[in-house]
Subunit: 392 residues, 2 copies
Amino acid sequence: EAFFVKKVWRFLKKAWDLGVDDPRKFIHCLKVGIALTVVSLFYYMRPLYDGFGGNAMWAVMTVVVVFENNVGASVCKCLNRICGTSLAGFLGFGVHCLASKSGPKLEPFIVGSSVFLLASAATFSRFIPSVKARFDYGAMIFILTFSLVSVSGYRVDELLGMARERISTIIVGTSLCILVSMLICPIWAGGELHVLIHRNMEKLAISLEGCTSEFFQSNGGVDDKNKESNEKLLGFKCVLGSKANEEAMAKFALWEPAHGQFNYKHPWKQYLKIGSSIRSCAYCLEALNACINSEHKVPESIMEHVSDSCLTVSSNASRVIRELAETMKTMKRSSTIDVLLGEMNSSVQELQGNLKSLLPENGTPIMDMIPVLTCVSLLIEIANRVEAIVDA
Amino acid sequence: EAFFVKKVWRFLKKAWDLGVDDPRKFIHCLKVGIALTVVSLFYYMRPLYDGFGGNAMWAVMTVVVVFENNVGASVCKCLNRICGTSLAGFLGFGVHCLASKSGPKLEPFIVGSSVFLLASAATFSRFIPSVKARFDYGAMIFILTFSLVSVSGYRVDELLGMARERISTIIVGTSLCILVSMLICPIWAGGELHVLIHRNMEKLAISLEGCTSEFFQSNGGVDDKNKESNEKLLGFKCVLGSKANEEAMAKFALWEPAHGQFNYKHPWKQYLKIGSSIRSCAYCLEALNACINSEHKVPESIMEHVSDSCLTVSSNASRVIRELAETMKTMKRSSTIDVLLGEMNSSVQELQGNLKSLLPENGTPIMDMIPVLTCVSLLIEIANRVEAIVDA
């Protein structure tokens, strides 16, 4: 039993740490609580409240289902919900009229086949990438509302009043959601994406510098020097896996209104391009890292011959990346980026010259640098071009 | 207007192709249609049907919300829904009793604060990775049901009957979902994962072979030879981005009962390990590919000197990967894998010997092979070990 308590305690501890690391998670929870309490009490207090299963529940349900971590996702879901419900409501109403006119024998067939057809079609539409990216939730809500309306055995005039009330409660719910998520410590998907890309660039720069310096300065030397720096070295591993996250953020950012430093039509797709350039650079770094950890011994003479110019190249490259990160952050065209780029390219030239003057017996480590160099210069060209677009 | 029609037509064409490429998408749509029609008609026909907003809608809603593309995801959502609803129902009932006993003045406060507290806590729990992986949907349903129950102004005895009916309709909905998704052309998340990993291995093998042979056989030669083979070469790009997909599948596979060749406790996590080994190999291939596309010209003499042994290494390595893929597919310990491994290792040795006997003036391309070789042998060791576990 003590074991169980301990386990629960450790679990709670871990959960608490999670929140302390990122206090916005706590804030998000409080926001959900506030929105839900407000809408609950609003309908709880209302004198014209007409019982469970009435329309109040739709407002509550909307808040629960729609409220998301960032503004873009909430707005996206709200609009989807409203559109899906309205569209399905109209269609369902039409089918209902048709069915009720065609006599009691034919009615179940019409209802059943229309549900079958539209549900299948809407489900299929969720597989189409362009629909999935924007209207996935809307399609689900469409199916839901349509089948509810078709199944309902109500008379037509009641149905109309019902539909009006239903849509009005959903609008109350969604607008409350949007208000709370925008006004109380908003978390913008666009801002998140911006910070994510910026941080990835910095991680990349640190890793690049760290890897090369570790390789040349402690070749076969002390391995377990300090764990902390080692963790920094492996910062690029995060970059490798951040694709899905970036894409989700960019998707939601499209739905957000202008906020802070971003306009409504901010070119979010450029961020994805930058992100993928960063990632292709990280792949090269991964390969380089594998070389560092391999057990090839390198003659001292060669190491000395190239280590200086290699270190210069990597520090120049990481300075360029840092400058780009800074440019990203401030969203202003950097004045020094061209100078830094020039320096980097000239140091690459120097390294290549250095290599030509060298006749290695076993040139492993030098050559391992080549892909990184080419990759870095590639990245910088891409990123530089993209920057120009972003800041234009 | 003609432009618009054309656009719509192209969109429909694309959607149709999507379905033709993977007919299971069509089947899934039909399954959703069938499930929904059955449940709708079931409640539509029932004589004791008591109007819109009654309990029938919960069965319809359950089917719409819970039905997913693969069995694991459906089962996971079903169980989550049932557990979340029951738990929240009990708690909500308790709070409701407490509130109704404490007099009309205190009641809104008790209801409001309990909704606030539990909604915040449940939202927070969705951030905890271990909870998120399994009970994300359940937590949402918990919040939903709890606030609905608390807000409902019903008398206690009515509430109990309501709860019983509600849960019974949800169970009808979920069991229908599970039946349909399991019995009509089931798509198992585990099977999908299995095929995905297998296909990724094959793509990797093809790409590895293709890249090296292109590099050595047409160095600076014809570039736009055939697009088709080029697409095959880039097969490893898919491998790079398949992480999120693999993880989702493995998550759902945990929920699936025994089916086909898989037992209930099939070690799905091993698949993730294999997947990440494959990916680390693909990173190296990405670096290699960058070298191929770079513009370094290599002296013919060097090319001739190493091309044979490089090609041997890469073809041996890709044969090992193919054999592993085959092993994966049949889930039987391969008898030839050790022989192939030995061959590969000896060819690596040979290549290294070859390199030592060579004094290149400009040894770029040879060395570019090194990371790939080390990486491949690394991968094979990992994958081999993992295989042993899987088949044990």
